[in-house]
């Protein structure tokens, strides 16, 4: 799937328009939406990769014309509906029509500080030694996984150099399918802007890439 999220290198969405003294939230619903999403993340019904894939599965035109909080809340609604915790009819009505499902864990106010401070680390013990070391030349695969992947289109088939070796982390291409953590070595790879865009300068594009995306170049 080459989804609406993968638009790096496209130049025609218009100017960036930074806002001076931007408030944390522009509208009250954005704050509510974010907090609801964070609270529901404690349910254990999905992981970060599943929820990203859900957001990316929106039709492209809707994705591009929706705001960040809109996309987030729709992703969470999709998952809650899919797991049978709520129905679209209930949202339309604004009230319960079918009895609640069992929620493994509800985030209480008392737990908020600890849950935020702990976060959800993504490093996991791996089985194999790292295949690459700093300075190694690598090439990204041309093929991408079916479904969710974090290998963007502009990097596929391109060569770069291992800039940093980070340890073993949950692999999103597997995790997004609910098939477990499948930890793999994570690297930061430096690609020259010349290699990726043909630019005549020394700029770099730095990407965090898992070992299964890479082969020796």
């Amino acid at each position: 799937m080459n989804g609406p999220q993968d638009m790096g290198g496209f130049t025609r969405f218009g100017p960036v328009n930074p806002e001076v003294d931007e408030p944390v939230f522009h509208e009250a619903w954005e704050a509510r939406a974010l907090a609801l999403c964070l609270a529901m993340d404690s349910s254990g019904l999905w992981n970060a990769d599943i929820i990203r894939h859900t957001r990316e599965s929106m039709p492209a035109m809707k994705y591009w014309s929706s705001s960040y909080y809109d996309i987030r809340v729709e992703g969470h609604i999709t998952q809650l509906v899919k797991h049978g915790y709520i129905t679209e009819a209930e949202i339309a009505a604004g009230r319960m029509q079918v009895p609640p499902a069992t929620m493994k864990s509800v985030l209480t106010a008392a737990n908020v500080p600890a849950v935020l401070a702990k976060g959800a680390p993504y490093d996991r013990p791996g089985k194999n030694p790292a295949r690459f070391k700093q300075g190694d030349r690598v090439r990204c695969l041309t093929a991408a996984s079916e479904g969710h992947t974090r290998l963007p289109r502009h990097a596929r088939g391109r060569s770069g150099e291992i800039a940093r070796v980070h340890g073993t982390f949950i692999f999103p291409d597997t995790s997004s399918k609910g098939l477990g953590d499948d930890p793999h070595w994570l690297y930061t790879v430096r690609f020259s802007a010349r290699e990726i865009w043909g630019h005549d300068n020394s700029d770099g594009v730095m990407l965090d890439l898992w070992e299964p995306y890479l082969e020796a170049a």
Binding site: Q5, D6, M7, G8, G9, F10, T11, F13, P15, V16, N17, P18, E19, V24, F25, H26, E27, A28, W29, E30, A31, R32, L34, A35, L38, A39, S43, S65, S67, D70, V73, E90, I91, G94, R95, M96, P100, L107, T108, N111, V112, V115, L116, A117, K118, G119, A120, Y122, R150, P152, R164, H166, F169, N201, S202, D203, V205, M206, L207, D208
Partner: protein
């Protein structure tokens, strides 16, 4: 413009003025509370936390400390997660931190092309422009054109490395300390550090 749909006046509590998405979120909230899936007090506390406690002043303190304390700077370079935790900032969307030190030769700039990953514990929630398709799509291919829209022009010789947060690493740019700040205290220095400088879309002067 896409992604500008939320730049309207703030919500009033009058139902008739709410946008469809505001109404939808309100209905969702009622429903989740009615079903016992969320604790309303937790919702209020989460909002309060990101509105008042977790924001770019955190990151500014990290930067100022790095400027005045070479040992801390070395630690930050070596293990940013631990060094930042020592000042008290940890957790969600900052579980795996990396500090990028700007130099006269290399300017670092951070983007998340695939979503909007951002180091929440040190910078708070991302600004609208960081989450917008224009920034997400253009920063990696024409960083100089994007920087111009922030009124930043770097010398041609300066190499720009654009870091795309494609994994769960979160990046904090450590800007160069401005000239003429030798006599400022760590606290005064922190006041000079802006959010955009810690993303790499501003150069402190």
């Amino acid at each position: 413009m896409p992604h500008d749909g939320h730049h309207h006046d703030h919500d009033s509590h009058d139902h008739s003025e709410l946008s469809p998405i505001a109404l939808r979120v309100r209905a969702l909230e009622s429903l989740l509370i009615e079903k016992g899936y969320v604790d309303p007090a937790a919702i209020d506390l989460l909002i309060e936390t990101y509105e008042t406690k977790i924001g770019p002043r955190n990151g500014a303190k990290v930067v100022a400390r790095a400027w005045v304390d070479p040992t801390f700077a070395a630690w930050l370079k070596q293990d940013a997660t631990a060094a930042i935790a020592s000042i008290g900032y940890t957790g969600r969307q900052g579980e795996h931190m990396v500090a990028l030190f700007n130099t006269p030769d290399t300017h670092n700039m951070v983007v998340c092309t695939l979503c909007s990953c951002y180091p929440w514990p040190v910078l708070g929630l991302p600004p609208v422009w960081y989450k917008s398709m224009p920034y997400r799509s253009r920063a990696i291919v024409e960083p100089r054109a994007v920087l111009k829209e922030f009124n930043v022009e770097l010398p041609k010789e300066t190499r720009i490395d654009v870091w795309d947060s494609t994994a769960e690493l979160r990046y904090l740019v450590i800007p160069m300390r401005p000239a003429g700040t030798e006599n400022l205290s760590e606290e005064q220095l922190a006041e000079r550090v802006t959010r955009n400088a810690m993303i790499g879309t501003e150069v402190l002067a």
